[in-house]
């Protein structure tokens, strides 16, 4: 019996090409005759377009066309972009047109497009397109925007309230009757974005001969793009082909369907030439969707022993101008608040407010980091007020393993109840605390203080709903060469799906790993797919791969049984060969079997045999599954500079069955790094007119290697019963508690100054101001 590939740290099949410059990203595709697009973009947060004069640009040598709204195909002027996440709770859901019709609602909104021989010339021409704007009052600050009579983000609306969400369960009023303690706090997580190192890009080529639109885009959702394009343009889906080749990071914003993804193919139709647009970083800063940007207030009622009685909360969510991903992000935030704790009663009132900024849609963590930050910091405050350890208050409130499956009392964003499936939250906390030597910390802290150094420690736990539906598919096909072709709707951006799925297929099918080729992100190869987001591929595509592999193995057995003249139940399949149990040398290779099944032209296939050793399985999960974990961070703060250094970072993590351990660990490391950025560095700043002030990498700071700690990891595996492999997904867990745990540790380090940190990111400037405020108050 060959050993299982699942659970092995397999070196990635993706790497050799990427390490030698043979990867293929969208901008690497060179189709002769391609025109290069550049966009005129709104310089205003909110304005009406009075007139566009493009004559100056058209006279440029090398410029082939300039298009505005009126020039677009009728299908794109008749309606705006489709709403991808409609929700009956939305009072208003405004989507942009592919090019601005008469109103622009955020800085960066596309107004016109230039097509030229190269990008240099296209940018030259941009400067000669004159747009007359009538500047309109802008909704910028989310609190102001939520007020009656505020300037509206869209001229045709009376107010900015996109949705008013009230969720909850239990008897909160009873919980707040004479509790021992009420913690009442406000928290803010500012706006930032994902900044994959590769910006967005689209290449379109219309093939008149076959009436086919070929689209290459670095999207996380190629099938969604295909369906939306076909629907909007009213063309048959089979006449649209979308490929997401190698994609240079996604982290959420590349899930969306953006105006440029429709304008570029429209330009290909209008000019009859291939058209490419590669977003530059300046554009990415003002067009790619963003996240966080939530303002929270909560009252937590606790008993004297630290037991949570209830939580009343309200949250203001700045969704930006457009409903690009509906109310998914705030909904996830609201439903993630209870976290790994028994929260007997919960009331949440969330207002989703439109402003004249780029839309808020999920970025790694997708609303969960905010929720984790909220509940974790409330627990920190409660622990401090009660004189309990920050570890102890958590220990007293974790959902216990024997309570699984644990029904929280909320409806998740997949429309199903929030039910935690498996996991041992207290044990994960114990592991993280032990590994971080939590018990010895106060002594380390005391010794450091004697040297004038300020150390702090923090702990935070989390759950993450992953593996969202509706489905994902994988097809497995044993070719006459004996090689195995695997296709899937998964659309990775570096997660290693190809390697992971190859491992699953190798086990299920009994194939050799080196014979398996996994192709992703191509709508031609598998008819339906959903895409890579919400840590959903491992729990959805790999069960599909598993079942497809088993199904093809059954077909292989049937053929082999005929060839070997043996009963199917006497056959074993291993390493790409089928043989009679106990007679290893008497067997047939996959190549022999597949060739036999394929038969000679004109010859009859024996009865009952499937000529094609192929199957496609779509796995549809019943509900989300719940990875979980605890992080501990130890930091040093220089209170004279406001400088923070993360000394140690420990995680205990459970994502169910682990398929490729090195990949899972790498996901956690990357996720933590993103959290470091959110906690300390990344903030998108706007002025009062809605003009972004952080529009380059010198102003908006991403974490670089010296700021990011090593992540010391421990893993548990509590398989989920929700899929046959028990795998849960690991893409975002690293980020979710990171902000909370880092800020908690900073606050602990600054305990002598009695500093309370509520807003993130916490910059050196902000930290020093807090220390000063606190020092002044105490005088």
């Amino acid at each position: 019996m060959s050993s299982s590939w699942i659970g092995k740290s397999v070196k990635r099949l993706e790497d050799p090409a990427l390490l030698t410059g043979r990867g293929q990203f969208v901008d690497d595709i060179h189709i002769p005759g391609t025109l290069h697009a550049a966009f005129v973009r709104s310089p205003h947060a909110h304005a009406r377009i009075a007139n566009i004069d493009k004559s100056g640009a058209l006279s440029f040598a090398g410029v082939h066309a300039v298009y505005t709204f009126e020039d677009l195909p009728d299908a794109l002027t008749a309606r705006p972009l489709p709403e991808l996440q409609p929700n009956s709770l939305m009072r208003a859901a405004v989507m942009p047109f592919a090019l601005a019709r008469d109103e622009v609602c955020h800085v960066g909104a596309p107004v016109a497009v230039v097509l030229a021989d190269d990008r240099y010339i296209a940018e030259d021409a941009l400067e000669h397109i004159v747009v007359d704007y009538e500047v309109l009052p802008a909704a910028v600050d989310v609190f102001d925007a939520a007020e009656p009579g505020a300037a509206t983000a869209h001229a045709h609306l009376d107010d900015n309230l996109a949705a008013d969400i009230r969720i909850g369960y239990g008897d909160a009023d009873a919980a707040f009757m004479n509790p021992h303690l009420i913690i009442d706090e406000r928290f803010v997580q500012h706006r930032g974005t994902a900044h994959p190192i590769e910006c967005r890009a689209v290449q379109a080529q219309f093939d008149e001969l076959t009436d086919t639109m070929r689209l290459w885009a670095n999207t996380q959702t190629p099938h969604l793009y295909k369906a939306a394009y076909a629907d909007l343009m009213d063309v048959p889906e089979q006449n649209v082909m979308v490929i997401a080749p190698d994609v240079g990071g996604g982290f959420g914003p590349k899930v969306m369907l953006y105006p440029e993804q429709l304008v570029v193919p429209a330009c290909a139709l209008l000019t009859g030439r291939p058209v490419k647009w590669t977003e530059d970083r300046r554009e990415h800063f003002i067009t790619a969707t963003m996240e966080r940007d939530q303002h929270w207030r909560g009252e937590l009622a606790v008993d004297a022993d630290g037991t949570i009685r209830g939580l009343r909360a309200e949250m203001l969510h700045d969704m930006g101008a457009h409903a690009m991903w509906g109310i998914v992000t705030p909904w996830i935030s609201c439903t993630t608040v209870p976290g790994p704790y028994v929260l007997p009663s919960y009331q949440m009132h969330c207002r989703v407010v439109m402003t004249n900024k780029v839309a808020v849609t999920p970025v790694r963590g997708a609303g969960r980091p905010q929720a984790a930050y909220f509940i974790e910091r409330l627990l920190d405050r409660a622990a401090d007020a009660l004189g309990l350890g920050r570890d102890e208050i958590r220990r007293r409130n974790y959902v216990q393993p024997e309570q699984m499956p644990y029904e929280v009392g909320l409806i998740f964003r997949d429309g199903r109840p929030v039910v935690y499936d498996t996991g041992d939250y207290p044990e994960l906390a114990r592991l993280a605390l032990e590994k971080s030597d939590w018990a010895g910390f106060r002594e380390r802290q005391r010794a450091a203080r004697a040297e004038g150094r300020y150390l702090g420690i923090g702990v935070a736990s989390y759950i993450e709903a992953t593996g969202l539906g509706p489905f994902e598919g994988t097809s497995v096909h044993v070719l006459p060469s004996g090689r195995v072709a695997v296709h899937t709707g998964a659309a990775p951006q570096g997660q290693g799906h190809q390697t992971m799925l190859a491992q699953v297929v190798a086990d299920a099918l009994g194939a050799r790993l080196e014979d398996i080729t996994v192709k992703t992100s191509d709508t031609v190869t598998i008819p339906r797919g959903v895409g890579t987001f919400a840590s959903r591929i491992t729990p959805n595509a790999s069960p599909a791969a598993h079942e497809a592999g088993l199904s093809v193995k059954t077909k292989i057995r049937k053929v082999a049984s005929h060839m070997l003249e043996a009963a199917e139940e006497d056959l074993e399949v291993e390493d790409g060969r089928v043989f009679i149990r106990g007679v290893r040398e008497h067997g047939k290779t996959f190549a022999e079997i597949a060739k036999f099944a394929n038969a000679l032209p004109g010859f009859a296939l024996p009865k009952g045999l499937d000529p094609v050793l192929q199957d496609t399985v779509y796995f549809a999960p019943e509900q989300a599954t719940y990875p979980c974990g605890t992080h501990v961070a130890e930091v040093e703060v220089d209170p004279a500079l406001g400088a923070v250094r993360i000394l140690r970072y420990v995680t205990a993590h459970d994502c169910g069955t682990i398929i490729n351990p090195v990949s899972v660990e790498a996901q956690v490391m990357g996720g933590v790094a993103h959290g470091v950025g959110n906690a300390l560095l990344e903030r998108m700043v706007y002025d009062d007119a809605g003009q972004p002030l952080t529009v380059n990498f010198g102003e908006y700071l991403l974490p670089s290697a010296p700021e990011v700690p090593c992540v010391e990891q421990t893993h548990m595996e509590s398989p989920t019963p929700l899929n046959p492999l028990g795998a849960k997904g690991a893409g975002e867990g690293g980020t979710i508690p990171a902000i909370a745990v880092i800020v908690s540790a900073i606050e602990d380090a600054l305990a002598p100054f009695d500093v309370q940190i509520n807003d993130v990111p916490v910059t050196p400037d902000r930290l020093l101001a807090l220390i000063d405020e606190s020092t002044e108050e105490s005088h």
Binding site: R281, L641, L681, T694, N696, L701, P764, D765, L768, A769
Partner: protein, 294 residues
Amino acid sequence: MKPSPFAYHAPTTLAETLDLLADLDDAKLLAGGQSLMPMMNFRYVAPEHLIDLNQVAGLDRIELGEKYVRLGAMVRQRSLLTHDALNACCPLFREALEWVGHIATRNRGTLGGSLSHLDPAAELPVVCMALNAEVEIASSEGQRTVQATQWPVAYMLPNIDEHELLIGIRFARPDTSFGARTGMAFSEFARRHGDFALAAVAIVVALDDDDTVTHASVALGGVDDVPLRLSAAEELLIGRRADAGVVTTAARAALELPGFEDVHASATYRRKVAMTLLERTLSTALMRARESQT
């Protein structure tokens, strides 16, 4: 993010360069390109002519004389960091350059480029000011020098005419000019390693045998909209025995600066951090001066 069109010139001699500068209007000089090229890619700057200095002979020399050091404008930041003899007589360069950008940007970035771009938080102008350097300027009309302290005129505006060329700097060797008991130190704080400083401090101090301060240069970057010398601190130090109390008092002079505000930090923050860094860096420089007793 592609630059506007320009005419490219690649002179190979100083004379040729100066002639081009004299003849051309709206010309920009391209040194290491680590600041100019981003601004051109963003089209914040769109010169009609670009004069590339990278092939001009003789501008990249490091000359260590008995009394003076001369550094050509095209000396790369990498060379300033790695040049052992230079750093033996003036360790400020190595100490400062470790904070400047990253390997790849230091490989291209030049001394003259840093001085000319004059970002208020850049390290090299601060070092030059602390060293009392003279900036050498040439044009087709002849040569002149400007004291480094007079080099910044206003925010990112150096004391040079558009038809002139910065060709290098010259400064007295700090290891021999102020006596044996000279100490130097540089430090800064930035949000990430390699970023422009939220505050940067360069110090040169000399002591006599009684530990009385005989020379003090205190230069600050990142605090105001230009790099500057903090004469109030220098005056407090000179002629006094520099004990901890004097150091603290001198450092407090940073609090009197107007300060400069951007998305990274407020003026208040910059003043306070300048004070902290000044106190720490001054202590280091004084300790080094005391230890350098022969």
